[in-house]
Symmetry: D2
Subunit: 328 residues, 4 copies
């Protein structure tokens, strides 16, 4: 029951009309018991037991990425609809396995790209689909975290592209509605030189070329000490959409040296509505069916681009993304 | 179970860690049963029965203003902490009775001025208390509703100052931290001439003079066909704070004729966070005690100013607010 | 050659295609000679001499308000087109005399309400004329100066309504396109109590009732220590226009405590474009004729409202503006 | 006397205290005569004649880029201080020749990167120098023109990086205060496929790696049909600066479908102040000496990066910029 797991638990509990929180599982008994007590639900030490003993309509998997394959397997075998946290996996092979299990079992699967359910992002998608900006030419994203994760996490996070920018890569793919054919990326360690030994960066940028001729610019930072800074824009041949930082207040303090405003401090506040809507969308998907709101294939595609960006930055050359994987 | 009653019910249900929704009451059985079913709680046809049969830790009273005295009496007699919707009453005499009942019974009482719990407003209050803008000189509010209430409601609403601007008057009193000694107001019926026959206005403004020498400008509109427009600002001798319209998305559409943004469409979206926080604050008040977050006396003070504004606009002269009521 | 006189001289000099700066006059020889040297023009100690000895196509009168009647008389007698600085006069009787002289002599006369030539204001007027906001219901203005004029100036300035707010009153009359029938005003001296002895205020507000049923709110401050703050808005029954503070840069500094921007520091920067356009408009008027861009009658109307506001604030009662003056 | 030449002429004429416009030269006699008449100055058919016959304190060279070397030579030989329009040249060899001539003759030389004199940009530079954002990590620029130049111009413009993005490249080099060591760029012709035959793009992006470890992202568009869109930002390890689109009015039109604002329509309006300041700075440089405001070496450096970006985009590989040219 990490930060995101607890957030999902609270949102399930709050969306009481749609879903009931039955049980939580965590090998660290103390963590599970805190949540279980708070929300009045049962607790398990392992997902295996939970899935065996409970008859669940859906499960949220917010376990460490390394364990995703195992836990998707469990849920697939029991045909329990699942909401899997991002990234889908750390390796393309694992993503393929997950996509393959989900495909074969036909279990309902939704990947945890919460940003898709944010009002600004979903409105942008709608506007593009309605032709408001014409044909998309360029997508640009900016994601700056106020501080990096702990160094021990850096070692196994998959790197800035796989851990942080994968949200932006997913959004870029979704908004451009095309696949990426080539990636060029680079990064620096001007602030945390120690990240270099894990092949990681504190700041990084990537250029994407899409198959439809469109372009993408992905920018990620882990050193934005002035606060969380999250923006996206799409330029089309008829107009453009800019998603700027959201504010959760609307006040401006006017002092002799200037007028001051404050953006949302961090992703929890920025995406509070998106996390709630994501759960609601998952509930609708479970109860009403239809296409996956965010499919395993989409999760694989974003991972592939993120891995290509990492490789490009390490090898200092453009990486071409091959047409398709051989076989699932 | 009107619009606000249902909203409170949903928020109580969602804030599950703090409170449990036990029962709802409405003489229109159908309304009560919809809510009761949705949230899995009991229902009553009258508040009397509900308060008699249930052992409640708190009650939200969102009944028509004309019934406030009766319902506050019920809750006071049973010593059930209550959150009473605004305005406290339509007449000063009724407000006095409510304040008096609450005072004598020492029941916990919180008036439903939700705006106080909005992030922008609570931050503003904090900034002023911290001296960020120095001594407050002037408060200005603007509240424009996209459309007026139905004509039949207009007849018994108490008028634009009592029904709509009372929120702004409360905020003005709270931020200036002083009482009003004189009010000058006027209004028009340029858009809905039929409002004139009820002595009401579709657009109105008032100037307040505070006892501490400060000034206030209250502006209310029921004809803002371009959307909800809600702003407040305080000018101090060292700086100022402006609360502008909040947006619940952060996107901008760029087209040949300009860049377009959208504010929150209506008060439900604008104050979603405030309504949630109001319930949380009420729960804290019930469980932990302390001063009333919004007292009956404060409710009376805002009503007094609103009534003075109405009288000023009708009689076309300044109204001086006498020092104090005779007796509690 | 005060601040505004020099500004006009520089703008005439810069708009070289349209006009040539021939001469300046100031009884304080030193002031005139600085400007004359800088711009390579002749200088005079008195307007009388200048108007007698030079053959001028136009003259800018930026003398103390008390001398306006005398100087307008001079220019009228010689039929020299004039741009007269605001306010037209300090007393209504003087404004009447000026309007009357101008009317009889049919000399070209433009009053120095520079704000009318500001891009934001002229666009707003255009939008209203095109019906973009429907029928205007309410105009609100805010003018906050960073510091008050020197106390000796306060004594003879005519007061905050006549000296500072007259710009806003003119704009309100212009945008509402109606006359004012009633004024209610009040003010404070919370920051400069010494202003009270001159019957003046450091902060003041006024409500205007227009003959067409529209409303106006005028707010003026001389204590905005956080900077110049100048805003206007008009609410119509189909939409609204807001003119917010203009910025002359577009940068935002992002620091840990927030995002900081800066508005134009003072009216010289805020209205640089407007002052240039005002001179250009004057040149066009001189060379091409047509209606006065800002007539003496308009100057008289704004003065009348300003004087009514001052009287209202002093006498603490509403002032009704009588239909028309008896005779010109 | 093209668009920019006329603009400089008007600005010299307007800055009358600092400089006098003596003469203009253009082989197309008609163009020169229009300007000469308008501003009352002499005209020449060739720069040679003008420089021979007039005793000039300075000259603005706004001739086609192909002729820069010839005209810089003329001015250098006569030791006439010059303001040369950007880009310095189309080929690095020419830039070297110009830098070399200027270096040997020690003539005063200022390159026409007007953006450096824009208030937003100069304030940003100042803030960075003062350490407001700490160590610069990343610079991002966005320059979107509302429409492309005519196709015949595209053929000899040097391409989008040399013609349009060179402004942004100069700003990036200036703000990062470091040299570029590697460039990766790519572009599309989604809107104007015909540009492909000249090896040019309608939209393009480039990533820069600076020697100090910093990163840069340059984005240029010639298809921004929603208007001129010009932004720059610098992320530092202590904060960031964002330069957003400037507006030359401050109004917002509020209609049922949203709130609309408008940015400056095109670079002439956007940089009106910068062009004026550029001339003033040139006058100061001529009269007072000191370092060149924008040196030939800086012009060469930006051209080198622009050419590397063009080569990268054409050859689809990263281009490393070699340490230094051998010899001038």
């Amino acid at each position: 029951m990490g930060r995101i797991g607890c957030l999902h638990a609270a949102n399930i509990r709050a969306s009481a009309e749609q879903a009931e929180l039955i049980a939580v599982a965590d090998p660290i008994k103390k963590l599970a018991s805190v949540v279980a007590k708070k929300f009045g639900c049962r607790m398990y030490e392992t997902p295996v037991k939970m899935l065996r003993d409970e008859s669940l309509d859906g499960v949220v998997i917010a376990t460490p990425t390394q364990m995703h394959t195992e836990h998707v397997k469990l849920a697939s075998e029991r045909n329990v609809p699942m909401l899997l946290e991002k990234p889908i996996a750390l390796k393309l092979k694992e993503a393929d396995r997950i996509a393959s299990m989900v495909g074969r079992s036909r279990v309902k699967f939704q990947l945890g790209f919460n940003r898709r359910f944010d009002l600004s992002y979903s409105k942008t998608k709608m506007m593009i689909m309605k032709g408001k900006i014409g044909k998309p030419i360029l997508v640009k994203t900016c994601a700056r975290d106020p501080q990096p994760p702990p160094e021990e996490y850096i070692q196994r996070s998959g790197g800035i592209f796989v851990d942080e920018c994968i949200h932006d890569i997913d959004i870029a793919l979704w908004l451009m509605n095309s696949k990426v054919e080539q990636v060029w990326a680079t990064g620096t360690t001007l602030v945390y030189p120690q990240f270099a030994k894990y092949g990681d960066f504190d700041n990084a940028v990537a250029i994407l070329r899409f198959r439809n001729g469109g372009l993408g610019v992905i920018e990620g930072s882990r050193t934005s000490n002035y606060g969380y800074d999250l923006r996206t824009e799409v330029l089309g041949d008829q107009g453009a959409v800019r998603i700027d930082n959201l504010r959760n207040d609307s006040l401006e303090l006017l002092e002799a040296h200037g007028a001051m405003t404050q953006p949302c401090p961090w992703f929890i506040e920025r995406f509070a509505q998106a996390y709630r809507s994501e759960i609601e969308r998952f509930c609708d998907y479970v109860s009403q069916g239809g296409n996956s709101p965010v499919s395993a294939e989409e999760g694989r595609a974003s991972l592939q681009v993120a891995l290509a960006a990492r490789e490009s930055a390490r090898r200092k050359r453009a990486i071409t993304i091959r047409d398709e994987r051989k076989t699932a």
